[in-house]
Structures are given as C-alpha cells and as structure tokens.
Amino acid sequence: MTEPAAKSVAVRNFSFSYESSGVWQLSNISLDVAPGERLAIMGATGAGKSTLTMALNGLVPHHHEGQVSGEVVVEGLSTTDYDVVEIVRRVGLVMQDPETQITGQTALDDAAVGPANFGLPRAEVINRATAALELVGMGDLLDRDTNLMSGGQKQRLVVAGVIAMNSDIIVLDEPTSELDPQGTAEVFEIVRRLSADGKKTVVLVEHEPELIADWADRLVVLDGGRVLFDGQPADFFGNARMLATAGLRPPHVVEAASALLAANRLTIPSGGRVPITLSEAIETFPTWDVALAPVRMVLDVPVARENSAEIVIEARGLGHVYPGDVVALQDVTVSISAGEFVAILGRNGAGKTTFARHLNGLLRPTSGELIIGGKPTSDKAVSELAVDVGYVFQNPDHQIFANSVREEIGYGLGNLGWEPERIRVRVDAVLDQVGMSDLAEKHPFTLGKGQRQRLAVASVLALKPRVLVIDEPTTGQDWLGATSMMSLVRELNENGHTIVMITHDMSLVAEHSRRALVFAEGALIADANPHELFSSAEILQRGTLVAPQIATLAAVLGCPQPVTTVTEFCAQWGVEVNHAL
C-alpha cells in the first residue's frame, strides 16, 4: 500500500465505534495533513478529538478495539495493516494526563523509554533523550525524580519522550488543559519551536481559541464525530453560526470585532477579514477616541461588598510549614465577608491550595490563626467545619463512590447523622437547585464530566455550607460545560453563598469575581479587584499571571477605564454585547 509522499497523513472515510458503545465516535472523517503543516483540531467534549488523535498513530483500532471502516494512512502505511509499534515510529502522540504516561524514575530514564524500546544503541538512546529534554527546557533536570515534578514539568517531560522517538509527525492532545498560565506558556513555546522550521508536522488539539488563532495554519473542527469545518481558522472564528453549532467560543478579539462590526463601529477594508489575533486586532481597531463612543455606556463595575457585611473568614498571620521545613504559606492576613466572590490566583505551588485547605480544616495553621464565622478553627474537626465551609475538589472522580446520584448527595448528611426522611427532602431540594432532579436515580459514572462536576458541587452543597471553596471548577471542560458550571456558581453566590474559587482561568476571574487574592511563593502578594489586578503589570508579573486578551487590547488601544471583559470593552464603544450564543 503506497501513497504519494506529499501527504503525511491521509484519513479516508474513517469511522470508528468503541466496542459495545453503540455510538460512532468518529464517522466518515476525511482529511489530509501535509508535511510541515500546523494543524489544530477543536471540538466540544465528546466530539471525537481524542479518538481521532489515537487513530492517527494506530492506538485506534489496535489498542482500543472496535468497529472500523475506511482507513488512516500514515506516510504510506495503513494503520489497519501495520502494527502500532511501526506507526509510532512515524507519529508521536502526547496523550492527555501526563501522570499516566511517565514510567521512568528520573527525567532521563523516562525520555529514553521510546528509543530504548526501539533497541537503539545505548549512546544513541541517551543522546536522543538528552537532546529532547534540552529542547523542552529541562536540560538541567536530567536526574530529577519524576515524582517530584510540577504539572508543567511532567507535561514537558512527556513531550520530550515523544520528541526522542524522532517521528516526523507529532500529535498533541490538549497538552495545556491542566496547567497554570506559566506552564501553558512554556508548553506552547515548545509547540511553536517544534513547528517553526516546517520539518515536523504538528497536529494540536487545544481548547483555547486565542492560542489556536495565533499558531495554526489550518483548523479542523469536529462535531459529534464528524468534520464540521476544515479550513483557515479565521473563516471558522468569524462564523457565529458555526461556532454555535460546534459549541465553541471565538477568541476575545473576534467577539469584540463582531460586536463592533454589527453596530457599525468598526470597518474592515474590502478584501480584509475579521482580526483573530491580538496583533491583527491592534492593526484593525482604531485607537480609542471619545468621539467613537458618543453614547458610552456606564457599566455596573464590580466592587467589593460593603464593609458592613459580616466577616466569615478571617486569617491572621496564617502560616503553614510542611514537614521537612517546606514553607508553603507565610503570614497571610485577610478577611472575607459574607456573600463575596473571591478568586484565588497564582502559579502552581504558590500557596493557593495550601491556603484553601485551611478553610475547612484539612490543614492546620503552623503559625497564626484562622477564624471562621467568628470562631477559631483550632479545636474543630474537619467534619464539624464541613457544615460551615464546603470544599469542592477539582476532580469529581476522586469522591464519587455511590450507586446513584441521590445516594452520592446524601452521603455528607448521613455522616452528620441525619434521618433518612430528612436526607431525602434535603437531597430533593439540592437536586432541584443544581438542575439534576431528573438524574436522581442514575449511576454517577454514566454521567458526563460536566454533570459529574455538578454532582460534586451538589454533594457539598447538601450540607448547606455558608462558604463554598471551589477548586478549578472548569478544568477539563469544554466552553459550554464551563459556562454552565460558572452560571451555577454565580447563582449560588447570588443566593448568599460566599464563594472562594481557585482558578488559572483569567477570563473567569474577569467575568465573575469581584476580588482576587494573588499568591506567590507562599505569600499573599495582592488583594485587588479584577480591574486593578489586570491593569497592574507588577502584580501580573509577580504572580506570573497573564491578563485576558481583551484587557491587553484595550490597554494598547488606549481605552479609558481598565477593561477586563469583552462586554466592558464594547461598552467603551457604546455597544452592548448580546451574550446569547
């Protein structure tokens, strides 16, 4: 089976259904990838992105078996005829979750796994692994224990392991989805470097449209296992109807440009197109001028709640030192009032989680004190504090154990010693609150990721905590899932729950929180509202945070007030944004 060498990958009418799933994860996909191309793949959860990446190197259908029709041809070899060990020499795949892809004890051991499996001479194996680690910026960490690495380092290590296999084609499946802004920037820099000289063909699955717009030559959008779009990224991002069908959001600048175009506040020269990157936007948008916005709208600027509200969380000189003299948190003094919506920001290891875990007693201060609802927490057990402070963890699968949604939600109440009848009534109320009443008897593992996350919130909400600590509520979810989760959180806040949200997503901060606490190296370095935060280069730099794209654009164009969301941006031009899809 030979193919012209002009194509790196040719996917021909390829369909695939996992054994016993009864659904076509991919149906009738056809696409060609040219050598040296930078191809991005987008799509909502369940659109078939991961399945497609695994089809490109033969894991589908060899490792994950199922029903197949059509074929995938990689550098002339059909993946159905050749074994995976042959295909992986040509297509390297960086899968999701670096944790399960690392088998070596040290960085060098792990990066060497691929070439060692090929049986190459020892010197060659070490050379390749070392070179790959240098390429991902880990040349000085060859002997680092893989168990002691940060999330960003693990992700870069996995990329190095795939680079060391020397394939012409590299496929990356959402390599930045679980990283902090710094880690994301580092990994994306590697992707850029890999694809810079056109020697490697790079296929990238990514959910951040800003990153895609800036990098990709070509975009393929999947929807329900089919190719919805295949072409220039600008053609897709400029097409509101197609975005809605795919359930994706465009880059901020596209959203802003579309709104201004519709209101005749922006003109695009004939033959031009909607700007999709920051630099294009800076060229296209006129510098802000008061004359451009005769009816400039006054926005309801988010401000911190008045001081009269009751203080629910008060930390005084709070510090925590882990065994081995690791200072994780030092001298944090802050108070949070009832009804606030506070975002906790900072890079991984900055002390965000350490701080949050004190709030419900999972950690005890090693210095200073923490007062919840006016009472010191030192003599309270976690199970007592659970009623005051609910903690929703990042990964719902770390807590789901019951056979039904109802049982899962009732677990905490059972722990409090409630009677079954009383639990039933309370669970019904919570189910209603989170909009899951029709799923009460379902098995939690049959729910989608977004629904499981919602279930985790519900199971904590059942205890009626005044404060909800929510750790990365949108990680691993597509835009629709994230939006629906955030509207739930916002609703809970409006109903009086105090929200403390740990997040890496600066757009979420801009949209929802009224106050941000920024941590760096265990210290609280800033306590500001989003406007102050995103207009202070100093805080952003110290906290290794990146302002939302729209905030940067507004600053360059000279918008008068600090702008952190697309809505605020458009208001500067006197344009109201319709947020419906």
Binding site: T100, Q101, D109
Partner: protein, 268 residues
C-alpha cells in the same frame, strides 16, 4: 518514607547490589545456623551498626524496631515455653529454671536461648532488609533483574509498580480529603462501621486505579513497548574490586560459621 533509598556515599552505598544481596543471604543463613542467643545478638548488633553507618538516624532505627520488639517479645515468650527440654543436645540446656501451670509448661535454659534467638532473627532480618533498601537505588535492583535475564515484562511490572506507589498514595490522600470534606469520619466506631466507612475511599481509588492502568497501557504502546524483546538498558551494573573483596570476606565468614557449626558450636 522509612524504607526509601537515602542517598549517601558510604561503602554500603557504593557496593554492587549483587554483592549486597549475596551478603544479605549469607547473614540470613548464619542467623538460621546459630541456635543460641549470643551469636544471634552479635549479628543483630552488627546489623544495627551497619544501619547507623549507612546513615539511618537512631530515631529511625527505633521507629522500625519499636513496634517490632513487641512482636519479638511475644514470639520469644511462646517459643521459650514451647521448647521441650528433650530437644536439646547438651544437659545444661535442659535445666529447668521455672514453669507455668504447676510444672506442665517448664521453662528451660535452652528454651530461653531458642526464644531469644527467634526474636533476634526477626529483628536482624528486618534491619538488613531496610539496610538493603536505604542504600540501594531502585534502578540498581532493576538492573540486577535485567542482568540475570528476568523477562522484560516482569522487570517492567516491577519498575512501574514502584514508580506508581507515590502516585497512588497521593491519589489516596486526595480521595480521603474529598470525603473528609463531606464529613466522613474514618477512624471512629466499631469494626463494621470502620469497614463501611472505607467504602467511599476504596471505590473512587479503585476506579481511578483502573482508569490509570488503562491509560498507562495505551501510553506504553504509544512509546513503542514491544518493538524489541529486550529494550536498551541505560544503566548496567559494574562490579568493582571492593565487590570482589567483599564477596571473598563474606564467603570466608560463611565457611567459618558453617565449619564451626558442623563441629557443634552454637547448637542447642
């Protein structure tokens, strides 16, 4: 972790893992050859000294031996009483020094020696195992397995299991925290209640373990696992002069002990 490799540069760290394994087996054979308590005490003391030399702090040593000594004492007591006077070879060991239940359970000199020996063997074995683990990086054990031609899939299983112990430990902590945040009380109540309390911990942990093993399998194939039956080894063990000298010394000691033992020393 008490049983993890602790980097160091003592002779014990530098010896080849194969030499250390040989020494380990040799001492085990010796402790079983010695039936009297004095030489066993000597071996236990040697093991303790070696541990301190290898850099284990005295506190760690006590932490390991503390809980064990309780078991050791019980074992010693039972063995001492269970030892029948007729089993001894020399009359002085049959001398009864006391008894329980009106003389139906006599305690002999030989019995005491036997009981203490058993207890000391346990302590010696635990100390030596710890010594081996704290002075030898995992990668040396793996290399040793590879060099004695253990099939690659077995080497891989061992390597992966060791690599994932901290990961699973971390996962278990996460699950435990998530359930504690919902008011779970794991350490309270009777036996049945405690076991029931562990279900919310075990179910997510097992489910996540299964998912991880599934992903790991895909990741292995993805890295070309199985392309050759014997992947290139990055690290191979090299025996040095010190290893040969150590092996000679160990052999000499072992021969001496066996010879003396045949001549009837240290038996009961």
């Amino acid at each position: 972790m008490r049983f993890e490799y602790q980097p160091g540069n003592t002779l014990l760290h530098r010896l080849d893992v194969r030499t250390k394994l040989f020494g380990f087996v040799a001492v085990l054979v010796m402790t079983f050859l010695f039936q009297q308590w004095v030489p066993n005490l000597a071996l236990a003391l040697i093991a303790a000294v070696l541990m301190l030399w290898a850099g284990a702090r005295a506190v760690v040593l006590l932490k390991i031996l503390g809980p064990l000594s309780f078991i050791a004492i019980i074992v010693a007591a039972f063995a001492a009483f269970a030892y029948a006077p007729t089993e001894t070879t020399a009359p002085e060991f049959s001398r009864v020094v006391g008894s329980l239940f009106d003389g139906s359970l006599p305690l002999t000199v030989g019995g005491i020696s036997h009981g203490i020996s058993l207890a000391l063997r346990i302590l010696t074995m635990v100390m030596l195992t710890t010594l081996l683990l704290i002075t030898t990086p995992i990668k040396h054990f793996v290399a040793a397995m590879r060099q004695v031609r253990v099939p690659h899939f077995i080497v891989f299983i061992v390597m992966t299991a060791l690599r994932f112990i901290p990961t699973m430990q971390h996962r278990a902590d996460q699950v435990l925290d998530a359930q504690r945040a919902r008011g779970a009380r794991i350490d309270q109540g009777g036996m049945v209640r405690r076991i029931r309390a562990y279900i919310p911990i075990m179910v997510p942990l097992i489910a996540s373990g299964i998912r991880m093993s599934d992903d790991l399998a895909a990741a292995m194939v993805n890295r070309g696992y199985g392309a050759t039956p014997r992947p290139t080894a990055l690290f191979t063990l090299q025996a040095a002069v010190r290893d040969y000298s150590a092996v000679v010394l160990i052999l000499a000691a072992l021969t001496a002990v066996v010879t003396l033992r045949i001549m009837g020393w240290w038996s009961l």
